[in-house]
Structure formats: structure tokens, C-alpha cells
Symmetry: D2
Subunit: 253 residues, 4 copies
């Protein structure tokens, strides 16, 4: 049963919308208006209509869809191929306290928050105040805002000590904050970074080595799509060639 | 505090072991024996010694490490790059009922079970009885066995109807069972497949189209590692070139 | 010294043109007209001007540039990453008689013709008459037309027997013509194919095996570009993900 | 007709040998000895036997085969995927004077020498004397030694000025010699580099920009092989993940 506060995927013939169900609210499409009250009490799989009679299926969106099609992007996001791998590689699971900085559009935050719930929390530090409001909106769309605390704080400011089970850093110059990050992690904790350039990889590795981090790894993931045509199966003509380099390490003892 | 039944990562100077803590048991290494009783009550981050005085750090293993270094492999496993992506793409989260077949070494099962806990369940169907015992052992190592039910059953046998929220199929000829799989899924549910050859991709796509599945996608993920040397950064000389093609679709209405 | 008939690369501040030098002809650019007579007698590296005073360097174009920027494309072309590899893999060198079909825009023909000159020849069979005229124009731009003979002929028609040292086939259904192709090759001769889909790869391999071809290989080449910025080195955001699968084999005895 | 001095490919049931035909010489295989005199006068495609009756086909080796299986490797070689692309990208063709340094095992030299013959020449500068003898041997195996002149000289020593039509540099620190290289090139000439690390790419790009080189490009080529099985078509399990980054530029005016 769909309740107020749920996020639904309205799938029409040509368009998909991802919206949060709110009482006494109208959602406008170019195919007519939808009174959101009619969604309450419906089941996923049901059909609703706009005031002009256009039909939409009411589907339960996956986190993947919320990230790719639902959230508003105010920055370059971390894509599912990377966020899924990061979350598994860092061993993020329920009950963990996770450091994140910056938060950007919260695309990674959503995946990590889903992994730490119900008893863990993402502590996200974002130095650009302008991103924080939309990040919360995006987390609400995924119903995961209560597992995330976003602070308007730069990594230059002191983090809580010996506090985080793991963390992920997506800032321009992570090497400047390695001491602070290290102190905030528990012994043996895994930490990850995403940087787009090879120069940043080198700088980050250097800082990690200087601070005795262990098990350094650098990896990139490439996602190649095929045209789903059984008798003419072939890769798509073009692909995303680069999102970022992932760096992983563990706090030494 | 480490308790009986926990899985720990013993990290020595050169070797890592992933073991389940049991009372009154001795674990033998070529650097001496470890009385597992001494692990009980220790904290993650502590140090223990073998009877010859060799030191090991006691770390909490991540699921990633359990999959890559802990479980016994009796089949080709589904690697983290794929299992993480599959789980996010299918939207697997707490409370879901997930179809899986076959179970193999349970490497994917572990990742999906971690995602559905505490209230969901993986229903794994495995037609080779010989794999099931070890699959359970592997799940126990990850402390996730209670979220998985493995049945010794082929996909030829009727699955429960309109029952699963999503599913993942890793069998040789998935196209033979599409009708059965479709009936077992709820409307709009996402389903995924892994097959190693292009011929299998074509066969599976054909069957999915014939059964009115929607949103067909075929994707492969490539994982490229770099030598983590800051001033001589370069990709590793060799890489895994292929694990499998991933196919995704949604049950139509 | 530049002579009539040479192809030159006119490199301006923003635009590059690849043109064939002809007497008493005017070449129009949006920066003014160029009297081609002024090119005759110039050296590569010199500067010329349009009637409005816009300057262009006169450079000798490489085959690579002629293929990528000079020729008119009437079909999907075979790109340099592939044509260079094909030519080396097939061992194409001066004096060889090379089978090609189809000829398309002659992008591969240009590379192979350059390799067989001065005493070899490309025998190109093209069943679509409409492509042949432009293919010759493109070959003339590269000054290689005298090493190529294009016949308006389908691979269904009998090829000369025991005649070709090697060959390359880029048609939709190469498996239909394997017998004819085989008979036209000398013993032990290498043959190559480009096909865009995996289904075509399978069909071609089957036909090659049935006709006792040896040393079957299937390969694809991926070309990844980086932004040439020393302190922010990173791959381009997007890349060509697929041009075609290359198949190589040798005529058995 | 096979003559003294030719290089032949002896293809047996399981083994292939690439040897230079010499008079009154015995070639030993573990399947018996081959009197090389019997090769003289044979045609490519003929069969010869060892003294124990083991049969070998006598094939004409392609340059590709000579590079991959014939030459002795004393260094990491430049592979055909790269050497073919380099040669086409640089526009190397008959009559050109080409700078090369170092020469290593001459794998690239062979491809470039084949492209400049009969009237051009590769001027290879190698500072390690120990490589030069074998490099010449390798070139002789390919019958291309007369189009190459190898000098025992480092790039620190002055190169001929305004002399080369193009060049390719494969040394550890190319940025140290950019001034010398630039002066040796004709105006507008293309130049290429291979370096294995991203740090070297950055250093080389910086030097090229400082010396006003134009049209900077950085590219890498990946070669992925498939198992040539028609009904179970799939990529090989593993692949070469990295040979080197290719850098291309043009001498400015």
C-alpha cells in the first residue's frame, strides 16, 4: 500500500517521473495533471490517470533509478557502477559510522545510507553550503535522509577522533587532509577516494604512503553497454570512457 | 567484543586468514597454532599470538574480503564488481524476497543476503546437490546464512507464483525457464542474468522479448587495476578481460 | 615542390582543408577564396593567403589525416586503429595481390594500397555501383588510385582462382562466400574480416571451420584518448566503444 | 622460389619456427634435424621433412609473425597493435627519413622500415650498445636491415638539423631531449612517443607545450581477444591491460 512520503515511479508510454507522494498536491505533466491524493492507498503495479486520461503505471523505484533519473544533479555524480563497488569494497553495512566528504548531489550518499540502515549513519561533510539543501532533498526522495547527517564543514576542520568505521572522500585535493582523515578513522578501517586525474592519484598515493596507510589499490571500472538485439548483438557505438579513478587503503596500526 | 560465531580476519606480516571463532578449537598456521578461545572477548584491532609467538592482528573482515579470500570456491564465482552492480541495479534492499538460481559458491548470495537483511530473504534454487553444503558454509562465514534458504531444485520445477520482488539467474540455459521465472515474479519486478557467451546473451534476449519483458539491457563491467606507485603510476600489465555479460529486464504487465 | 595533382593540407587558425591541387581553380573558404595556382611551386611548410588575407600553412597530409578528414564518407569507414592493424596482421607489403570486398569509402583500401605499392595491387570488389565513383575520388586524394582496381562485382560471382596473396572482407554476410574466397586465395594465405555483430562473428567462424581455415582469431581494438593536459591528465569523458570485430584466419592446405 | 637469405616459417603440427635460410646448415628441432639446403629452390606452400620424417609446411612469414614469434627479444617490445597505429598515425611512407630512439629489439623499427622502403630510411639512435647487434639480427630476419642505420648514440648528442620527416621516441625521459628532437625535425613534422607511466606522459606533454609543439594527443590502444568458438563466443579470460601510452604532436612553426 502506497503511503504519504513514499517515492513512486510513474511510468507512462514515453516518460518516467519519480515523485514523492504528498497529500493535497498536484503534479503537472505535459500530458495533464495528477492529483497525488489518488496515489495514497494504491499498490505498486496499479495504474493512475492524469486529468486528461493519460495512463501511468505506479512502480516502486529502485535506488538505481532514483539515482539515475530521480535526483536533481547539481554536480557530477558518482555513478552506480562506482558507488556499488565502493560500498562493497569498503564493507559498508548496517550499524557502521561512515565518513563522507563532499556530499555533492548525494548520489553515493544514497547508496551508502541504504547500506548502513537501520542502525548506522553517514556523516557527510560538505564545504559548499549551496549543495546541502538539494542533497537532503535527494536523500528524502530515496527515504534515506534519517540515516545521514550533513555538516557544512570543510575537511580542514578537525573531525571526531577514532570515530569512523570507514569513509569515502571525493574532494579536489584529498592529500591536504590525510592526517585529519586518518585520525578520524578507527584502526584498520578502510578508506576510499575518487579523483578524476592521474596527477591526483599520484598525490593521494604519496600522502597515503607518508601516513602509513596499508593495502593501497587503484582501480577504474568501465561499463560497456550492448544493443539488446538478439540477432544483431553488438556494443553500443559510444560509451562513457572515464568517471574517475578509485583509490582504496586501510589505516595502519 | 568478539564472540563465538564471529568471523575474523587474522592479518599477519605475510598471510591473512579468515576464520570463524569456535570454542575449544585450534587453528594451525605454518607459523604456529592459535587457540581460538583467546579470540573470544578480544576487540577488533587487538593482537593475538600463535604458540610460537607469531603476531596477528584481529580485524573485522569486510564482505568483499570474505568473498575474495575467505570462502571456498567450488565454482567460478560472481566477482564483487558484478555482484555489487547487480544488487544495486536490481534495487535489492531490506525486506525483499529474492529469487536466485543457481547458488554455486554463494559469492553473489552473500552480497544479496546482506542487502535484504534483516527482514528479507534470498530463495536460492540449486540443482547440483553437491554445491549446497559448501554454499551454506560460505554463508555462515559471512554470518548471513539465516537470510538465505537454499533448495535443491532445478528451474524446471514450478516456482512459487507472483512471489519474488526481484531475481538473479546464473544458469547455463536461462531461456528454457523464462516462463517459470516470469510467473514467479511480481509485476514490474526487475530480473538479472549472467551468461559468459554472446550466444547465450542472444538466446536469453530472445526469450525475454517473447515473454514481453521490458527495459532490456546488456552490460559488461571491466575492472582495471593500477600499480599504486605515485611516481610511476601505470595500469597493471594484465587484467581479467571477461567474467560475464549481465542482462537486465523488467517483467511487463 | 608542390605540383598539380598533389593533395595538400591547408591549416588555418581554426580550420583544416585537404584539397587536391588543380590548375586555374578557386577553392572557397568562409575566410575568403584561394587561387590554387599559387600552390604550385610552393614547398610544404610555406604559407599562402586567401584573397581576404587569411593565412594558411601548406602541409603535407598524412594518410591518417586524409582518411580521417579528407575523404568523403558514403559509408561507415574502417578506422585507422583497425586498418593499420589489419594491414600489419595480414602481412600486406609491396608486390602483393590483395582481395578486398566491399570497398565502401575506400578508407581501408587507401591503407592497403599504400602498403602494396609500387608493384602490388588491391583488387576491390564492390557490388554497390553507387560507391565506386567516390571510392576512386578518395583514392585519388591519397594519390593511390593506380594501385587499386575496383570492380563492380558481388562476391557471388566467381573470383580468379589461386590468385590472391591475402584479402580482407567487409560485407554483411561473409559466410555465404567462403568457398569462393577460399578458392581465390593461395595456399596458406591470410584472410581477414570485419563484422559489427557477435552473430556475424559466429556465422563467419562456422563457415571458416567448415572450409578448413586455420589459425582462427577474433580480436577487437579499443582506442582511448586522454586530454593532453600535463597537470590534469585524464581520459576523455567519452569514447568510441565499438567499430567492429576483426576475424583472421589462414587458408588451410 | 625460396633463396638463401629468405626467412621462412616452418609450420609443423604443434610447433612453428621462423628461420633464415642458410647454405650447409642444420636446424635442430626436438622432432629431428632439418638440412636447410633442402629449402633452397622450394616454393612457399611446399612441405619438407626432418631426418626422422616429421613434416613441416614452408610458409612465408608475415612481418607480424616475425615480430611476435621470430625475433629475439632483449627488451620489452612495441607490439603490433601499437606499431601499426604509430606508423599510420605518423604518416610513415616510402622515401621518408625517420628518427627513432631507442631501437631496443627493433620490433617497431621493422614495421617502420617496411613502410619507408625502398627509398627511405630509419635512423635509429640507441645508447645501449648491447642491444644493437641483436637489433640488426632481427632486422635481417625481416630482410629490412638495409633500410635502417643504427647509431650507438644517446639523444643527448646533437642530431642532424632540420632533417627528419617524422620520428618516434621510446626512451625513459623523453622530455630531456625535446629541444634536440625538435631541431632535428622538419617544420610541421609529426613526432610520437611511447611511455608506460602517467607521470612520464605529463612530463612529456609539458616539454612539448614549452617547445610549441602543436596538435598534442594522448591515446592508448587495448587489444581484446575472443575464443574463436562459434557457438560459445566469448572474450578470453585475461588480456594485456597495458603496453604504453602513445603521445603524438607536430613541430610548430
Amino acid at each position: 500500500m502506497i503511503k504519504e512520503g513514499n517515492t513512486v515511479h510513474l511510468k507512462g508510454k514515453k516518460n518516467s517521473f519519480f515523485i514523492k507522494v504528498e497529500k493535497d498536491k498536484i503534479f503537472s505533466t505535459h500530458k495533464g495533471n495528477i492529483d497525488l491524493n489518488q496515489l495514497i492507498g494504491k499498490k505498486f503495479g496499479d495504474i493512475i490517470q492524469t486529468h486528461t486520461g493519460e495512463k501511468f503505471f505506479v512502480l516502486k523505484p529502485t535506488l538505481f533509478e532514483i539515482i539515475m533519473y530521480g535526483i536533481k544533479r547539481q554536480t557530477q555524480i558518482i555513478y552506480p557502477k562506482d558507488s556499488a563497488f565502493i560500498t562493497l569494497k569498503l564493507g559498508i553495512t548496517d550499524g557502521m559510522k561512515v565518513l563522507e566528504s563532499g556530499v555533492g548531489s548525494a548520489a553515493l550518499t544514497i547508496v551508502m545510507a541504504n547500506a548502513v540502515k537501520p542502525t548506522g549513519k553517514i556523516y557527510a561533510f560538505e564545504r559548499e553550503e549551496k549543495y546541502i539543501k538539494q542533497a537532503y532533498e535527494n536523500l528524502k526522495l530515496a527515504n534515506l535522509d534519517k540515516f545521514v547527517e550533513i555538516k557544512h564543514q570543510s575537511l580542514e576542520e578537525k573531525l571526531p577522533e577514532d570515530f569512523f568505521d570507514t569513509g569515502f572522500i571525493d574532494v579536489r585535493e584529498p592529500w591536504l587532509y590525510i592526517e585529519n582523515i586518518k585520525n578520524s578513522l578507527k584502526n584498520g578501517a578502510a578508506i576510499g577516494f575518487l579523483v578524476p586525474t592521474t596527477n591526483q592519484v599520484s598525490m593521494t598515493l604519496t600522502a597515503l604512503k607518508e601516513h602509513n596507510f596499508l593495502d593501497l589499490e587503484v582501480v577504474e571500472l568501465l561499463e560497456r553497454h550492448y544493443k539488446p538485439v538478439p540477432d544483431r548483438l553488438r556494443p553500443e557505438d559510444r560509451m562513457v570512457a572515464h568517471t574517475g579513478y578509485l583509490i582504496f587503503a586501510k589505516k595502519g596500526f
